[in-house]
Symmetry: C2
Subunit: 354 residues, 2 copies
């Protein structure tokens, strides 16, 4: 493989010294970029884009042509695993993802296969290989998966949800069925992420978008427990290089200690926690990724720059910070504002790395 020219992102995740704080954006490839919209129109629809390795590579690389980002992230959907299990993923305009065959009972869980990543999910592995090759060692490639709990919410609710009543009904009335599903999903995610690593992903991230809708006890029971199983099952070193793993649960600021205790290398933060507090609590153990409110990107350039400086000052000196938004970039953000953000991170962070 080509040697890596910019390894700031991997070094920061491993709490090693860097010259400036590395930065990437959650959903950096996507609907806020006109070139993305053009490629998506060419593909036909969203899943056609995800399943075409050349086009998935193209949209992965588009933001890197605009901005000096320190990492690329595989362009894919978080629901590829349930789709490969046979649930029939589809998208209705303006409605988010849906499943034709949601899980409702024990038989539905028992009948689910554990997908072979190089068979049913080969299109994802092909995208990883294509992107890694086309990156030519410029920056590292991040692979990812949804967490078991987050995948299960879509599989049981049949799509997006506000109150998660179906999965919670199962959690509280028939917990054994839900645990069987979560365990099968954890096994599937381990295979999926390890295959991404073998295909060329240099770091992996687990997105637990919906763990924060649970109580502290239920978060540990239904979400964190299965992420911990995944962390334990991942390839942590590949071809002599460490493969850092980042866990991100939205709205989990109160539970950072237990997330950091899973054995992951880094914890993703949303913007509802002060990064200085997060560092004081878990910064000696793991790296931190985050945590600007994505809505700041609507503001004029000086306000964006000020916010970046505030967060950098909050983390302060020392290693182990990957700058990012606290969640995905909004689709109507002007691309030039994303550029202001990325440049500000590099410009104002040098003083903290001496």
């Amino acid at each position: 493989m080509t040697p890596l020219k910019n390894d700031r992102y991997l070094r920061a995740l491993l709490k090693q010294p860097v010259d400036v704080t590395p930065v990437w954006m959650m959903r950096q490839a996507g609907r806020y970029l006109p070139e993305y919209k053009a490629t998506r129109a060419e593909a036909g629809d969203f899943m056609a884009l995800c399943t075409n390795p050349e086009l998935a590579c193209e949209v992965t690389l588009q933001p890197l042509r605009r901005f000096p980002l320190d990492a690329a992230i595989l362009f894919s959907d978080i629901l590829t695993i349930p789709d490969a299990m046979g649930l029939g993923l589809y998208f209705e305009t303006g409605e988010g993802p849906k499943f034709k065959h949601p899980i409702t009972d024990k038989a539905g869980v028992d009948n689910l296969p554990v997908p072979d990543p190089e068979m049913e999910l080969k299109y994802v592995m092909d995208a990883v290989r294509t992107i890694r090759k086309n990156l030519k060692g410029e920056v590292p490639l991040i692979g990812f998966s949804g967490s078991p709990w987050t995948l299960a919410t879509y599989m049981i609710e049949g799509g997006s949800s506000k109150a998660f009543t179906k999965i919670k009904k199962m959690a509280f009335a028939e917990p054994a069925i839900l645990h069987a599903l979560l365990d099968k999903l954890a096994d599937s995610v381990i295979l999926y992420l390890n295959a991404q690593i073998a295909a060329g992903a240099q770091s992996v991230m687990i997105f637990d978008t919906w763990g924060g809708v649970l109580s502290p006890r239920d978060y540990k029971l239904f979400s964190l427990q299965y992420m911990e199983k995944i962390v334990a099952g991942l390839t942590r070193e590949y071809e002599g290089q460490k493969v850092p793993v980042t866990l991100f649960t939205k709205n989990a600021g109160m539970w950072l200690e237990s997330i950091a205790a899973t054995g992951c290398d880094a914890v993703g933060l949303d913007w509802t926690i002060d990064i200085a507090d997060a560092k004081a609590r878990i910064g000696n153990k793991v790296a931190l990724q985050g945590n600007m409110d994505p809505s700041i990107l609507y503001a004029p350039a000086p306000r964006i720059e000020q916010e970046v400086q505030d967060i950098l000052a909050g983390f302060g000196e020392g290693e182990g910070h990957v700058f990012n938004l606290g969640h995905g970039i909004h689709l109507d953000v002007p691309p030039e504002n994303a550029g202001v953000f990325v440049d500000a991170v590099h410009k104002y962070s040098a003083q903290y790395h001496k």
Copy 2:
């Protein structure tokens, strides 16, 4: 006025001794009750129900006929103030509340009147008077309002929102306009709640449903600051009786200390925090209200009873706990399960009050 027969709720809010832990449910009047559906059908639509004092009284009292609840809460909508300001509240089936004339700019804010509660909101005050009279001193009556930030989200987004991009755009690009709106709303809420107290509400609660979508700094700046202004402006004693005030921000478990420091009597908790932790952090200063996950009410009776016992044990001995759900009851919960919940609180809490 008739002397109060059951004052557990008021006593608990003031951290005074009680025989058993008082309990009520957020949204205890509502769509999970068949008798509510019948009354609403009689009224015609939701706003017709809210604006008819006799029918608003009827649905307020319905849950008290079924369950031995320790408080009644005014049946109304949180968006009455913006509606009285002229924004044109309406409801589309299955879509939640909407405004015909959302706020988009400075002129929109400048032109907003501060409603006179006994004029434009007289229907609410009439409902309070009617309910208080018909309660005949059985239990206290809770009045309420949305918080300025929460009201502003609906006024600027034009209805419900997922990412709150319009109000955040204003917060970060034109903060002075948003502050002017929030300040006018705080003044309006003070008048509104004081009028409810004068009309017969024996305690008031401020619902900040959406404060938790902000960063810690922005929560203090755009939400908590204005709730603090309201607390300072409220009638805290009326006709020789203390009028306790409860603040509730959803997803604010990390910020409990600053909420408790506003001068309120009690802090409402959602279920994402362990009540034992909350008590350790702020229990010496304020009473706590909460905090069972409303989805537990989908479970079989023994599971509901177990959860109630766990939360009671979490709070442990000592005064200052009002049992409640961590948010509103779900509309498809069997009413008998709500009964199991209420009975369990009384049954299992006596041991903690000796």
